[in-house]
């Protein structure tokens, strides 16, 4: 059981041969599909999306947002984003379930290791950097329908702030200030619930007789109601602003839970497994 034969050279050659065959097949397929010269024109479907994304003169197809990519993520191709959010939700639940411990009270009190953290210079600089990261990530989330940005980008950026706090201060320091998994899991569920309610709200309106479809943003000729594009000086683009904010909350809280659970020391798991 403990003796490993050194890998014979024939296996390495077979591995390289398989990789090269795969690469050559892929090359033949792609050269047939795109050709060698770059194109100077794009497909008609892309021209349709670019022309009608912010077209005030033909409001049959518009999405009320000058950013074509964000309006396609939440309005024109909204079903893809809905299922992708559910895949992300379930993957985080799976990772938490693998790392579960029967008695939660033994872990979250001051027991094995003291929470001292790193030196004073590192702590002072980390406080400044965490403040800047929080401001930039909230700006990316709120401006998502006017400039490059959106929900996912901002959620990934704000989880880095929690990671810096765990590294420079310690996990026990954060838990004494009530940033635990017990607080972050309900915040994450509230974010995903917000997205679900906004997507299924047209179902409630259909009960009163008006035709509507799931993930509806602006009025169409056959479904004659919609969200307001802007209130006063704020340009909301229908419900894209609220989608961006709920996705930011859900992704940020999800990754914070993962970092807090991965920081639990290994001695506790060894005690539980009985080794």
């Amino acid at each position: 059981m403990g003796v490993i034969v050194k890998r014979p050279y024939s296996e390495v050659i077979i591995g390289l041969g398989v990789a090269l065959l795969f690469a050559l097949t892929l090359f033949a397929v792609i050269a047939g599909a795109t050709g060698f010269t770059p194109k100077e024109d794009i497909r008609p479907l892309a021209k349709f999306y670019l022309y009608y994304a912010i077209n005030w003169y033909e409001k049959k197809y518009w999405a009320a947002s000058p950013e074509a990519v964000n309006s396609m993520v939440w309005d024109y191709r909204g079903y893809d984003t809905l299922y992708e959010t559910s895949v992300f939700f379930l993957a985080i639940i799976g990772a938490i379930a693998v790392f579960r411990i029967p008695k939660v009270k033994d872990v979250f009190t001051k027991g094995i290791l003291s929470g001292k953290g790193l030196s004073l210079i590192v702590k002072t600089i980390t406080k400044l950097v965490i403040a800047f990261v929080l401001i930039v990530s909230i700006a990316i989330a709120v401006h998502g329908n006017l400039t490059p940005g959106g929900g996912f980008q901002a959620g990934s950026a704000i989880s880095i702030a929690t990671l810096l706090a765990i590294a420079a201060f310690s996990r026990i320091f954060l838990e004494e200030r009530k940033i635990t998994t017990k607080l972050m899991l309900p915040i994450r569920v509230l974010g995903v619930l917000g997205i679900g309610l906004l997507a299924l709200a047209p179902g409630l309106i259909a009960l009163s007789g008006v035709t509507s479809f799931v993930i509806q943003n602006q009025p169409k000729p056959w479904a004659n109601w919609g969200f307001i594009p802007g209130i006063g000086p704020f340009w909301l683009s229908g419900n894209q602003f609220f989608y961006n904010f709920c996705e930011f909350v859900a992704v940020g809280a999800g990754f914070t839970v993962i970092y807090l659970i991965f920081s639990i020391p290994e001695l506790i798991y060894k005690k539980v497994l009985g080794k």
Partner: protein, 131 residues
Amino acid sequence: MTSMVSQALWIYFYITLIGLIAVSVYGIVVRPNLLKKIIALSILGDTANTFIIFLGFRRGGAAVPIFPSIKPTPEELLWFKETAVDPLPQCLVITAIVINMSVTAFLIALAIQLYRLYGTLDVRKAVRLRG
């Protein structure tokens, strides 16, 4: 309109991307450590995303698919339609990045649990220990 140097550079781009796919598939098949396999899998996913964005590129006077103001005139809309890069591949790539990230996080959790139960991360040794 495209000169010889441009043609040669575009062929070189495709050769580089095919080389990246070959390196990552070699890493998945031959290397025995589980964490090295996960690193190679993430490189493969990123190369596939770059292929998709190459398909939507427009050569010669391109622009970002974001319009600079809220109230456009009809002539500006026609200019935008004839100059901007394809936005549909970028929407699909954002979805693909989030799904790859969540699957990789779950795989790393499973690899750590495998080390706790079997005592090794080498797949050649772990295959022989059953149960």
